[in-house]
């Protein structure tokens, strides 16, 4: 799913690393950054995501979910072809988070050409650093997948 010859998707990790599993998005992004990938850590409200959509045609978003699934469960969504539901994702500032940003971009015809969203079900969103065991295990698997061949998964 590269944007063209030699280019790889921008990895955006979303969440607060000081709220345990909410930090799984930044954790994955930083690990991939250490492997040389172009990443962005997103904090604050979701509107700034639209600014990134305007300049990157190929994006992978990674966020923690709080959907009731088993901790560590991974979901991948082709956001260009399926709407995102706000209730699924944990991150939100002023209730304008990932899903609101993507759906606003869709309404404005501002979605990037390729946009995949990975959600990892969190277990502990309390104050503190570090991921819970099952969440970290899934995060490591996702890093391996994206580092090995980002085109395959998305």
């Amino acid at each position: 799913m590269s944007d063209g010859a030699g280019s790889l998707p921008l990895i955006i990790g979303i969440g607060n690393r000081f709220r345990r599993d909410d930090g799984v998005g930044p954790w994955v992004a930083e690990t991939l950054q250490n492997a040389g990938r172009q990443v962005h850590i997103h904090a604050g409200d979701g509107t700034a995501l639209l600014d990134l959509f305007a300049v990157h045609g190929d994006i992978i978003l990674i966020d923690a979910t709080k959907s009731g699934a088993a901790p560590g469960d991974l979901v991948s969504i082709d956001a260009r072809s399926a709407p995102l539901h706000a209730d699924m994702f944990h991150y939100s500032t002023h209730r304008f988070g990932l899903a609101e940003a993507v759906e606003t971009a869709r309404a404005l015809d501002l979605l990037p050409a390729r946009l995949w969203v990975y959600g990892i079900e969190g277990q502990d969103f309390g104050a503190g650093i570090g991921l819970s065991e099952r969440v970290e295990r899934t995060a490591r698997e996702l890093v391996s997948t994206l580092a090995a061949d980002p085109a395959d998964d998305a």
């Binding site: 409200d45 639209l50 002023h94 309404a107």
Partner: protein
């Protein structure tokens, strides 16, 4: 008697989480409680024993929307405790980055979170579907604020270039001057949004508020001035605790701010505007008049217009400061550990943010007190809700619920700042 129960499990489009309980006994509003039950985060407690220089970076983590308010109040308070005087250039640069925070915070709330209430829409996504140009304008305007914060602070959220005494590095003049064209556009865009939103159908509500804000003889206050009000209060920031108190109530984990006599007061855009209208620029005053606003606005629902006028002001002021920018040299004033106490109050987008620290001879925090604006507004929010509910008994439960949420959003409450979830319950007995 007729019992009515209205319940909203999670108030949308505010920062943080809380609940509202309204109990009606026929036409009587028996109880209104703005319930905040997010566990307290104990920032004041865990600052004790820390190096005072860490205070701005730690307290900025209280809020991802208004970190500058915490950084600036903390810096000024620690500098006073350590008897440090900063240069006018540093002061101007602080005012410039604070303008960026007003622009992005106010625009997000007014255009993306509060406007849906007046348009009969659920959220900004529906505005984007029905009026995409409005949302595009709002997004660009918000980005203007983010750009200022990135340029001065190193990043838009939780800036890394700010410190006690000034800035780690003075921004490049070219980068600061490059902000000017978009700031000029932003001032006009904010004016257009204010005039567009002035056509909303505002609920007919007026209240004689006690408006409390910073006041300053020359400038529309952001990071300077005394604490004043429309009822004659005029005190030094150091005297905050002599005139204001914080109460613990059973239904809120956030302390509630009151005057010493127990009365409620209002902080935020309506208060700043009422107490400092003459210090707005002529262009901003003209926008206010064209929007149908006098120098005092007592209809809380029209706070959305005042926010946009403040965005216009912040854009104009930021452009002025950018044009006049001279890099501070040195970029910060060095500080030496010294026992002392400092007080500071700056105007966060939602109102005055008071900090008080006592520092020991080794420069470690002995005592910390942080009074955020939403804590201060809680009693007034409850009073507004009681009044608005009493005026709106003929509304259906669904519409009354909507009106209650709209009333709360008049305040752009940052529950995370006051401590963090909102459920709304209305019982009609």
């Amino acid at each position: 008697m007729t019992e009515r129960v209205i319940q909203v499990d999670a108030l949308a489009r505010v920062e943080g989480e809380g609940a509202l309980y309204v109990r009606l006994n026929g036409p009587e509003v028996e109880k209104v409680e703005f319930r905040i039950f997010e566990p307290p985060r104990f920032f004041e407690a865990f600052l004790r024993g820390r190096d005072a220089h860490e205070t701005p970076d730690i307290t900025s983590r209280i809020c991802g929307i208004c970190p500058i308010a915490y950084i600036m109040s903390a810096c000024q308070s620690i500098e006073q405790a350590m008897a440090v005087t900063i240069s006018p250039e540093i002061d101007d640069l602080r005012r410039l980055i604070y303008c960026g925070e007003w622009i992005q915070s106010h625009t997000l709330h007014a255009a993306m979170l509060h406007a849906p209430d007046f348009l009969g829409l659920d959220d900004a996504i529906q505005i984007a579907q029905s009026n995409p140009e409005l949302v595009k304008k709002a997004l660009r305007l918000k980005k203007v604020g983010n750009s200022v914060m990135e340029c001065i602070g190193g990043r838009a959220v939780h800036p890394v270039n700010t410190r006690v005494g000034g800035f780690y590095r003075a921004p490049d003049p070219g980068a600061v001057h490059a902000l000017i064209p978009e700031l000029n556009w932003g001032a006009e865009a904010a004016r257009e949004l204010a005039l567009q939103f002035a056509g909303f159908d505002f609920p007919d509500d007026e209240y004689d508020y006690h408006f409390v804000s910073l006041i300053h003889p020359d400038r529309y206050p952001i990071i300077e001035g005394r604490i004043g009000s429309n009822r004659g209060l005029d005190i030094a920031v150091e005297d905050f605790n002599a005139h204001f108190r914080e109460d613990h109530v059973a239904h809120s984990t956030a302390l509630q701010g009151r005057m010493r006599d127990g009365s409620s007061y209002l902080v935020g855009p309506l208060a700043r505007y009422a107490n400092n209208f003459d210090r707005l620029t002529p262009a901003c005053q003209a926008t206010a008049r064209e929007a149908g606003l006098g120098p005092i606005v007592r209809n809380p629902f029209k706070s959305i217009l005042v926010r946009l006028i403040e965005v216009q002001y912040a854009c104009e002021e930021a452009a002025r400061l950018a044009r006049a920018y001279v890099p501070p040299d040195p970029s910060f004033v060095p500080t030496e550990p010294r026992a002392g106490e400092g007080h500071a109050c700056t105007e966060a987008p939602r109102g005055i943010c008071y900090h008080n620290y006592r520092v020991d001879a080794q420069g470690r925090i002995e005592h910390a007190q942080i009074v955020p604006p939403t804590s201060q507004n809680q009693p007034q929010i409850e009073a507004d809700l009681a009044r608005v509910v009493a005026q709106s008994l003929d509304l259906s439960d669904k519409d009354l619920k909507w009106r209650c949420e709209q009333t709360i959003r008049n305040y752009d409450p940052c529950i995370s700042c006051s401590t963090h979830f909102l459920k709304l319950t209305v019982d009609r007995v």
